[in-house]
Symmetry: C2
Subunit: 407 residues, 2 copies
């Protein structure tokens, strides 16, 4: 009897993390004789420890498998559970006993840096104890901060959402073009600027908004920012500025923390707010200009209407490639994308050692940050543009997209 | 020689205000012998007072007319300019002299309550002075608070954006379904709850999120809210709550003002924030539950990807109907939509006296607010559902929608 395949999702969701799940289930079903059952753990390894998992055949039977492909969020539920560093910890014995009880031979985990740490530890424990179970990671992150891969599925759709939405915000912000205004757009990405940088794709012509772009890879100076805004307002009455949520001062203090440090509400409680809202208030006070701040928030990672077709296809493909890899005996690896050509854009799939990937963060290249930390280079545009190509037709019912529900 | 047609846009933009402009220009071009030139004032009546207007033929020649149809924002620029109450004011003489200089015989103004006030005053001044110029208003508002019409173009697309986005936020908010959380979504509409109510369309099954919905038409009580959230968390671990930005306490104080009253930053300055952020902090303090707040912000009114096809068609149609109306000699009126059938949904176009419309606000019906001000009735769902039907295929280039630019 063939061994079972167990898969799970971990970390923050993306618009295509379920497409990878779909790809993996689809590939496993296409190699029916190679696998026993295909199980999905609920809430990742944390749920598996509580014996919470489902047979993916039930998803297929419920007619939900095709819908999963374009459903945002993590269909199986997610977790943020860090396994102990010490492989002698009791929890490893428990996990491997449960894996044995379920006759699991193959283990796929769809996630980012932290999730790859789980793959690293489980594969090392397997090696140490002589277990035959194969462990492979499937990359996903909107932040694009996974090392060892050209980019990560989830990033392209988030970048497309940001570029498209910022382009619309620019039009909206320009309707009173006879009055000065500043619009500050706050974009996700606490430590890496990949997401914030993608707003540069919104520009339609030379001199178009967003006029200023700030990433967390450089130091953010408030006084320099005020001067830049003043200068730009002279040539552009409706200024749109994009900032990463992770912008920080020279001491590494996040700009959002500057606000949060001092805010107290009626009850003397802390009032938490974001970097965009803080700068909005700063602009009003220091320049006296009409200012609005917009936090793009979770829509960046869960908008199905703005799925990138390229991203969706790649997300499915890494899931499929992961299944093929574990079946061939690969373990302790993550599926990676290699860009083999820029124009026309082409990628190949491969695997890389998990130890070289987990717990590392791929920062945005400093050489792609230009104009004193306020603009993004052409190289980035060439890198990012192919990742947002293609629109996806969603299943629609009564004017709204139909999604898969696990109930 | 036929008289010229002058049109303008005023007030906040919507996703389809340019579709009405397109419809009007298109209709005027189709009745070429009926009109001289077709002019567009830049920044509405305010810009016209500065002799700022363009010949719409130049837009056609620049190949931008078709693109305008699905471009968010106000292509001609907008204004918030209130004409004086006293019709003897000098400004009226100036406007009518300029209208005469431009040989204008017909005047269309696309806007909401305040813009209809402009149509009311100009048409009254014309009557008083024996001017032959015809003035007609074209309705637009995301808020849906225009009286005399079943609904206003702009509302359907905003409602579709809200319903679709909230459905996605619900999925995103449920990925850690083994841990309690509250997500607060803040929706536009300071005085009218039409927009906030549309989040009810996001629900997919009985008991689905958003679990609680608060409109500005009822009093918001913080303690009652805390109790409701606690109760709901017992049956729904990942609670999504939608609130209107305009929720207020029994004294009429906006919840966002409660936050703003007391906030001071490092420099002793006021720190302005929204109702959602205020309640997020309240939840953390009083219930100690993981809470996130999301302000849908201007994307509600400028998302081209989530245009409702019904809304787009109606926006074009009211523009066309406005042109036909002024040409027939109608003046001092606004184009209205009459729903003649619910299922299948059908509307007819007509006009109504501007005096019965301007400066009034259509509140959300109190009888459609249920469960002690925390839910919305089936009657609203029947009313709103047809307005969000149909998806619109946008012109796409390099993965992003192409829009019209006035440069």
């Amino acid at each position: 009897m063939e061994k079972n395949l167990l898969m799970g999702q971990s970390g923050g969701p993306t618009a295509v993390i379920n497409a990878s799940l779909y790809g993996a289930v689809y590939a496993a079903r296409n190699q029916k004789d190679s696998f026993g059952s295909v199980y999905g753990m609920l809430n990742g390894i944390e749920g598996f420890l509580d014996d919470r998992y489902i047979d993916m055949e039930s998803v297929k039977k419920a007619g939900q498998l095709e819908l999963i492909k374009t459903t945002p969020g993590s269909y199986l539920g997610s977790c943020r559970y860090r396994l102990p560093e010490n492989l002698d910890d009791e929890v490893y014995r428990v996990i491997f006993r449960k894996l044995k009880d379920c006759n699991v031979g193959y283990f796929l985990y769809i996630g980012g840096n932290d999730s790859m740490d789980t793959i690293s530890k489980l594969s090392r424990y397997a090696k140490k104890t002589g277990s035959e179970i194969k462990f492979v990671g499937i990359p996903k992150t909107i932040d694009n901060d996974l090392v060892g891969t050209d980019h990560a599925p989830g990033y392209g759709s988030a970048a497309k959402y940001i570029a498209s939405t910022v382009r619309e915000i620019v039009l909206d912000a320009s309707v009173y073009d006879n009055k000065a205004s500043v619009t500050i757009v706050e974009i996700m990405g606490r430590n890496a600027g990949w997401l914030a940088a993608s707003c540069v794709l919104a520009r339609k012509f030379k001199g178009d908004n967003p006029a200023l772009i700030y990433l967390p890879e450089t130091v953010f100076n408030q006084e320099a920012f005020i001067q830049k805004v003043k200068q730009n307002l002279e040539i552009n009455p409706n200024l749109v500025v994009c900032i990463s949520e992770g912008i920080h001062d020279e001491n590494g203090v996040f700009i959002c923390e500057l606000a949060n440090k001092v805010e107290k509400d009626t009850f003397g409680h802390k009032m938490l707010t974001g970097a965009g809202k803080y700068l909005e208030n700063l602009m009003k006070e220091r320049i006296g200009v009409k200012t609005r701040s917009i936090e793009l928030n979770v829509n960046q990672r869960c908008s199905a209407e703005l799925l990138s077709e390229v991203d969706l296809k790649e997300a499915i493909a890494v899931g499929e490639f992961g299944v093929k890899s574990v079946r061939k005996g690969t373990t302790g690896k993550m599926v990676i994308l290699k860009r083999t050509n820029y124009d026309p854009y082409r990628v190949e799939y491969s695997v890389a050692d998990i130890g070289d990937i987990c717990n590392k963060e791929k920062a945005f290249p400093l050489e792609w940050i230009t104009e004193g930390g306020t603009n993004i280079s052409e190289e980035f545009i060439e890198y990012a543009k192919p990742l947002i190509y293609g629109n996806v037709k969603l299943p629609i019912r009564e004017g709204l997209p139909e999604f898969a529900y696990r109930r």
